[in-house]
Amino acid sequence: MSDSRMVVTHCPYCALQCGTALRRENGRVTVRPTDFPVNHGGLCQKGWTAPALLDTPDRLLDPLVRGRNGELVPVDWDTALDTVAGRLHHIRTEDGPDALGVFGGGGLTNEKAYLLGKFARLALGTSQIDYNGRFCMSSAAAAGAAALGVDRGLPFPVTDLGQADVIMLAGANPAETMPPLMRHLDRAELIVIDPRRTRTAERAVLHLQPAPGTDLALALGLLHIAVVDGWCDNDYIHRRTRGFDAAWRRAMTWWPERVEQVTGVPVIAQREAVRMLGAAQRPYVLTGRGAEQHSKGVDTVAGFINLALALGLPGRPHRGYGCLTGQGNGQGGREHGQKADQLPGYRLITDPDARAHVAQVWGVLPGVLPGAGRSAYELLDALGTATGPRALLVFGSNPAVSAPHAGNVTNRLAALDLLVVADFVPSETARMAHVVLPVTQWAEEEGTMTNLEGRVLRRRRLLTPPPRVRSDLEVLRELATRLGEPAHRYPTAPRDVFEELRRASCGGKADYSGISYERLDAGEVLHWPCPASNQPHPGTPRLFLDRFAHPDGRARFAEVDHREPAETPDADFPLYATTGRVLAQYQSGAQTRRVAELNAVEPEPFVEMHPDTAERAGLRDGAMARVSSARQSTVARVRIVQTMRVDTVFLPFHFPGAGRANLVTNPALDPLSRMPEFKVCAVRIEPYGDPP
């Protein structure tokens, strides 16, 4: 029999979760896009080259423990697990359960995210768990839940966008971050809001280029124009919403000429944007990280939802509001309890009914469950301090590169008594760990992911993992039992975990109880909520068509006002810096920097700037520049871009070491979502090193 096998699965990277067929033939794995509706047979370069991850040369193959000489040395699993459990036990005995912390990731499967949350609350007994999704989706989640009653990135299938005639993209750059999505946007006229002329902006009919950190003023101004120029759907506002009046009182003070002065967006362009949306038959408003990663990210998203509500978009066929989720399981990852304030089913850990339900599923008393813990940056910032955790377990994340004020985060990680990292490559965070646990990767495991449209998908296994590599689920069970937990609480088969997740999510906002592996494997298209019922529930591709998920069925306008970013340019730091992604790399780059074909495209950190900005700083295209903020400096190669604003430089955040963009970013947090201000800080630039 020949060594050949094929599975139908999904790409390991972003929230699109493009459908792929993986084939193994004579030891070689190849990928083909499928006709899955999200990607229609398309795939970006990251997706095409994903098989290279499967035999990356520095794959972690053995557990590692840092020896007396300071080096990480291979050990057997029992030694590694005993070491971890022993030290966790010791620290917990000394300082209590909150001295133990957990940091999860938005790329983990639903099953892993769920079991990780349970492990933290029961096996460790700690409230100190959060995840890197806090850095992605938390602002949109908070604003969406407040306005619409439930947060599902796109409350309609991606394919609906293919019928749109006008789409506003506020702070989203899908042409580079999720290219196959653009296949659905080719019919619509695009209005792109971005301080940079991105590849997405180049395809726009209208590009609004606000100063970094002023998107909220722009959103308020657009609402102002919608009212004054008569584009509001007053009947919809009256029947389906609350709070318009208070929202208008704020937007009223943002007349277009004032907005122009604050944002730099011409009045005519503001008017044209509203006219295009207002006159469209099938308009949509979508937000991305550009609107969300601010110390006022929640209010900024709320500002765009206000606009969408005023125009009568959400909850109606052929129109709507949505946010473009980033990470592979950025949707599912925010629903199953790895967030500091959350229990499975998108329940709040502070809600007594939610606690009672989940405790009953877990077979414990509600009082056993800890309360809400610190948010991601606050958790990282507290590590190794007098009141913070002394130990941290990291699953599916690389905060040494991806967290804001990365220099500080690196110091905090170094101050821990115990850092444990479960990963499949030696990420920058793993290299700092006391114990590294080698785990399976996408094509070696089963599970489910929930994509940006709330559709639950099956990830399928093509390969047997290397011999001494274990799944995250196995790691959690082994650690839990060593800490005195009964083994049955931590199933290791993904299907068994999913069965428990169904019960735990039952009755919650993100209700998966009607979804099963059998239904998914039979090819059913299931978007949550999908409650268990006598007749199989068809799932909910489109939310809010009859009512919004508030008790009275109405959506809520938010009374939001503009405020400046936490940091504005001054004499010492005269420029704005904004951060983002490039096509050929993904997040902290831990995976994509290991794919030669991708790394050849974007091998090193760079900083984009206007030619005048470069000239004033004595920099030429291709020279090395030091970019400094009030926190630290990063080093990057100058890239001259004519279309940049003269007051702004751009840094991609995928690169490690001295080239980390996050060395300069500002950890100022949104008061509600605790989202850091990745998208704007004040910097200065200067030549670095000897002139070439």
Binding site: G42, M182, V227, M252, W255, A584
Partner: protein
């Protein structure tokens, strides 16, 4: 020290101050005394009420936090600086730890025969544009707007917007002559006439009688309504009677303080370094800075760069900084763009790469960019022309693509890679796509790849024939 902060006046500056005091953590009591019976509203949008695009109710400012006391319909009559108390027309006395005067300004009525009636009020058919009630129920028929400053021009355009018969009378050679130079002023004049505003420049009103206005150049105009847009006078009587230092307005220092350290003044009633009142941006900036100061933060008000942007959708007019001989003398560079046939004009006066004065008409994108450069005192881009035209300096030409041009961005496929794949035998479009992965990302390069495919096919056939 437990009387807290008392704010006299309830206009936009007072409203902003009260809200921001709480925002910045002010602990003590905050009391606002408003003379008008209605809640604070946004005076900057009054012309939208004239244009009937907003109603009076639409202009009401956001509700203040619960613990701010707002007393409406109460006029302060006297300040006792020794007792730190304010007396009011309804007999109540308000004590304060710090007092903020935000008493605003009132219309400046020119000396015109017949303008006022025997009771001291305006004659029939005359009103000023200052409060929201001034802007409601303007009678049909002809309206004469007296005064062609910013407010006068906005008022005239707003009334035209709703179809009113409008005449603008202005003593200067063209409207807004204190802010615009002659070329830009002429463009504005042309625009006003084009939209149907009859303009009488260089003329003053001489005499008014209900229904008629006589000008000093001999014209007599029908006037169902006469609207005064002839400037404002700060309300300083309260301050003067209390012995505070006043000039045109109540004098304040960089800490917004009057000559009494317990009394501050902001907005249209105040005078900071001789700046003219009547603009909302400085008023709000003063409110913000004072809120910071009174809550123990470090703050200073050093003035606001004047940005005047006409609030109308029919023409883009902006003026930055103040014109004049002094400005010109300090200038190191000036840039002028004049395209009168298309209604476009720009003049920039620069010093050390920064704009000290600029006037723009009909260039909406440049206005937006320059507005940012001026408010943040940033140097202008080296390509002045690109700035004025609202473009970025260079553009890709679509001529012959170089070999290293990336055709499929999603998969980083260059023109060269496509050519190589062709040479290596991918002679069908489907093969070319499969080998290079071009077009399989976002799909937007479909046509470009087809074009290259066609060009490769034709060149190869030609070369094959030789």
């Amino acid at each position: 020290m437990n009387y807290g902060t008392l704010i006299v006046g309830n206009g936009p500056a007072a409203h902003r101050l009260a809200g921001q005091l709480r925002h910045h953590g002010h602990q003590g009591a905050i009391t606002v005394l408003g003379a008008e019976p209605r809640p604070a509203y946004n005076r900057a949008l009054l012309t939208s009420v004239l244009a009937c695009t907003l109603s009076a109710d639409d202009l009401v400012l956001p509700r203040l936090p619960e613990n701010v006391q707002v007393r409406l319909g109460i006029t302060a009559t006297r300040i006792d600086r020794v007792r730190r108390a304010v007396y009011t027309d309804d007999g109540t006395v308000y004590r304060y730890d710090q007092l903020v005067l935000a008493t605003g300004a009132r219309p400046n009525a020119p000396a015109i025969t017949g303008l006022t009636s025997s009771d001291g009020g305006f004659s029939e058919g005359v009103r000023a544009i200052r409060t929201v009630s001034d802007c409601e129920d303007i009678p049909d028929g002809r309206t004469i707007v007296l005064g062609g400053g910013v407010l006068g021009v906005e008022t005239a355009l707003a009334l035209r917007h709703r179809g009113q018969d409008v005449v603008l009378v202005h003593p200067g050679p063209y409207a807004m002559d204190d802010l615009l130079d002659e070329s830009s002023g002429r463009l504005l004049l042309v625009h006003l006439e084009n939209v149907g505003v009859k303009v009488f420049p260089g003329a003053r009103a001489a005499e008014y009688a209900p229904g008629k206005l006589a000008l000093d150049d001999g014209h007599v105009l029908d006037a169902d309504t006469l609207l005064l847009c002839t400037g404002i006078r700060p309300n300083i009587e309260l301050a003067r009677a209390a012995g505070l230092a006043v000039r045109t307005g109540v004098l304040i220092d960089d800490h917004l303080r009057t000559s009494d350290p317990h009394i501050y003044a902001i907005g249209d009633c105040s005078e900071h370094r001789g700046a003219k009142p009547g603009h909302i941006a400085p008023a709000w900036e003063q409110a913000e800075q004072l809120a910071r100061l009174l809550t123990g933060h470090n703050a200073r008000y050093v003035g606001t760069r004047l940005v005047v942007r006409l609030r109308t959708s029919s023409i883009d007019v902006a003026s930055f900084g103040s014109p004049g001989e002094n400005t010109d003398r300090l200038a190191t560079e000036s840039v002028t763009l004049s395209d009168p046939a298309r209604g476009r004009y720009a003049r920039l006066i620069l010093r050390d790469q920064r704009i000290v004065h600029a006037v723009l008409v009909g260039l909406p994108r440049a206005i937006a960019s320059i507005s940012q450069l001026v408010s943040r005192s940033l140097p202008v881009p080296s390509s002045r022309l690109a700035l004025l035209l609202g473009t970025s300096a260079d553009h890709w030409s679509n001529a012959e693509l170089p070999d290293d041009a990336v055709i499929c961005v999603c998969n980083n496929v260059t023109k060269k890679a496509l050519t190589c794949a062709w040479r290596d035998g991918a002679r069908e479009l489907t093969n070319l796509v499969r080998t290079t992965r071009a077009t399989t990302g976002c799909g937007s390069c479909q046509r470009a790849v087809e074009r290259i495919y066609r060009s490769l096919s034709s060149t190869t056939e030609t070369s094959g024939a030789t």
